[in-house]
Amino acid sequence: MKCMPGCAHCEATSMYIVVSLALITTMGIALARALLGPSVYDRVLAVNMFGTKTVLLLSVIAFLYGRPDFLDLALAYALINFIGVLAVLEFFRSRVPDARERRTGRHG
């Protein structure tokens, strides 16, 4: 797959760059939130947000490069990110009583 028809692609490049700058800035912000915390849930929120922004950034960059067949990657990220966030929540939740139980006595 080559360029878009006509010169639309060349014109489009500048606005892709604008959007990707906005996305990268937001990724930076999400990273700041993930580092600042304060609670674990804030960090999960930041990770989720970071993942979505990465998906958008990759879609934009795929078009910026003029190789839209790489959108598969963005799709994969969208799916995997969901699994990651749910896994964090699941394990964090099932861990809460565990810690209490371990404090009273070692098991196993």
């Binding site: 606005m15 989720n48 969901f82 964090f92």
Partner: protein, 108 residues
């Protein structure tokens, strides 16, 4: 016709970039978890819709548009679900939303 589409996608992409950026700033500046979540999920849904439909207009009727639609669909399905799971988890773990009465205490 092409120019109209270009201008339309310009507008959508710029708005998308703005939505993502404002949401990101909100996620950084809001006082407690739930307000941050509110702000972050706005970027996830609105920003994603705007940015991806902006790119879709550029792509025209190709396989890439189909993939973009799939990405958008998955983002719209998974991101609110993750937010919901996160909010439930946080609430069950005892994180209370910030009330008017205890304003200023953002540490919980």
């Amino acid at each position: 016709m092409n120019t109209v589409l270009d201008i339309l996608s310009w507008i959508l992409l710029t708005l998308g970039g703005l939505a993502v950026l404002t949401g990101g700033i909100g996620a950084l500046r809001m006082p407690d978890l739930y307000t941050r979540m509110h702000s972050a999920s706005v970027t996830d849904s609105l920003g994603a819709i705007l940015v991806i439909s902006g790119i879709m207009l550029q792509a025209g009727l190709t396989l890439a548009t189909l993939k973009l639609a799939a990405i958008l669909l998955f983002l719209l399905l998974t991101s609110p679900t993750a937010s919901n799971a996160l909010a439930t988890a946080a609430l069950l773990a005892g994180t209370r939303p910030l009330d008017d009465e205890d304003s200023g205490d953002a540490s919980t």
